[in-house]
Amino acid sequence: MQAPTPADTTRRSSVEISDVTGLRETTYWQATVANQAFWVTVTVILLCLATAYYQPDTFATKGNFFNITRNFAAIGIMAMGMTCVIITGGIDLSVGSVMALAAVVAARIMESGFEWYVAFIAGLLAGAAAGAVNGSLIAYVKLPPFVVTLGMLSIARSAAIVLSENRVIYQFGPGAETFKAIGGGQVSVPWIDGGILPLSNLFVVLVVLAVVMSIVLKFTAWGRYLFAIGGNEHAARLTGIPVDRIKLQVYILAGTTAALAAIMSVGYMGSASNGMGRMYELYVIAATVIGGANLMGGKGSIYGAFIGAALIFLIRNSLIMFGVDANWYDFFVGLFIILAVLLERLRSRQQG
């Protein structure tokens, strides 16, 4: 193909609008390279390859895959809700505590002899209620999200401790079998070696939720409004978007996803403790930020949060595989958060 001469390029700029609009503003390749989630995916793959090379017998096994995906599923589920909050320019620091509250509520109800679905619904409602309190104060009373959810972090944790009478709840009533089967169960999918690949229910819930949320964010007006609010809240309001109602909804969503992660985890572990989800706000926010969400709002993706959560737990697994002291774990999580933000800053400087 011949390079365009200057005459060609000038003619180009005067073509009809309808011709130009057929062109993509950037190629898919450019868009991919500019996407943070792409680089996190590359990191995840490299880390997997390195660990698999170092520990071929223990890392690259179906059993280890099952464990890693189950372990990051709870963080991943919560990161789905957090992504929506962060896209609107908010933050929810209370998700870890809300997780504990929902777990204790569900467990206490099981303990009192109710059926598993009553516990399930009650747990989800507890999470939604905590989110609704956060959302109402932020959207309608106009309090800063950071402060409101910091308060809820303390309140929900305390409520969980009081409600659990500060003990670990493990004596579940008649619905215990079903309850534990839902959280702790697994599904088997056919695998390329002709056998089956077991996947934890937690991970399956995460994947289903991620697919649904991706569709919602990309293809619905509601998803578009989240980005509009995060980009320019004032403009969103002027165009008639129900900004306050949507803000309330995203905090309810964040609380509900925390509760969902909690109930599934209780089923998997077979017990609920009020210490559940401690520090999880750090991991959840880290997962979304590492995946490319911007804490200033207007930017973020479900896939990014998913792969970010995967990276965080892969770091833990790899450290163990390489024989590094596990106490270094949070050090590396923190390092990756800062690296992610640094990378984001460098790229936005390049563009602007």
């Binding site: 004032h234 403009a235 002027l238 165009t239």
Partner: protein, 246 residues
């Protein structure tokens, strides 16, 4: 017949009288320049027409029928659109997204409603074409020039059969070449029979594009005359108060 008629509009904020007995009429396809110093009441008047708040006294008539606007959506339903001074655009979204923000085209799949990107992009391209703007629907607003951003904000007003477009300081913070672009956009609106109220501080722009100019001073309309019968000097005098009334 006048498409928009204001009769005896007054607005008090507590003891402060922002507007006093303002009458104004606008014909279809007419461009009116609304001028005045800071605090003269321009913004208040525009906000009343756009439905941000109701007037304390007076009537608003659109096509002869009286209306009471309480929310911007009320005014929009009567075909009154506003281009805000800050344009009210979301930088992180595309041009087409911004044009349709809050008024998305959707198609139903079972009980769910999904965005119809194809239709929105096609319609946005059509609107930019009508405005003779080189704005591309898929481009992010962040990457656009001031003129292109104006085109996006103006295209938004063309989504429905609008009759009146209010433009608040559209040329205040953009380059000379872009000012030219924006004035062209205003002429396109005029050509399609839309009445435009241009709020501006820039005398050359008003004289370049307006048919008529109205001057507000301390909440009162002190002049309302054809641009051809006036001069920048006279208007400056009216704005500052050096000329009492014209």
């Amino acid at each position: 017949m006048a498409v928009l008629e204001l009769a005896g509009i007054a607005k008090h904020f507590g003891a402060i009288e922002a507007l006093r007995g303002v009458d104004l009429a606008l014909e279809p396809g007419e461009v009116l320049g609304l001028m005045g110093d800071n605090g003269a009441g321009k913004s208040t008047l525009v906000k009343i027409i756009a439905g941000n708040f109701p007037p304390s006294e007076g009537a608003i008539r659109v096509d002869g029928a009286e209306h009471h606007f309480h929310k911007p959506i009320d005014a929009r339903r009567q075909g009154i659109e506003i281009v805000y001074q800050d344009l009210a655009l979301c930088d992180n979204l595309t041009a087409a997204d911004n044009v349709f923000l809050g008024r998305e085209i959707r198609h139903s799949v079972g009980p769910f409603k999904f965005l119809n990107f194809r239709a929105m992009i096609a319609r946005a391209a059509e609107l930019f074409g009508e405005l003779k703007s080189e704005t591309r629907p898929r481009d992010l607003v962040k990457q656009m020039s001031g003129g292109q951003r104006q085109a996006v904000a103006i295209a938004r007003t063309r989504l429905t059969e609008s009759k009146i477009v209010l433009m608040d300081e559209p040329t205040a913070a953009i380059s000379v070449r872009q000012v030219h672009e924006v004035l062209e956009l205003i002429r396109r609106l005029k050509d399609t029979g839309i009445a435009v109220i241009l709020i501006s501080h820039r005398m050359p722009d008003v004289f370049a594009v307006c048919d008529r100019v109205a001057v507000l001073r301390r909440g009162t309309k002190v002049a309302d005359k054809r641009v051809a019968d006036s001069s920048p000097e006279e208007i400056t005098g009216l704005i500052t108060g050096a000329i009492e009334y014209a």
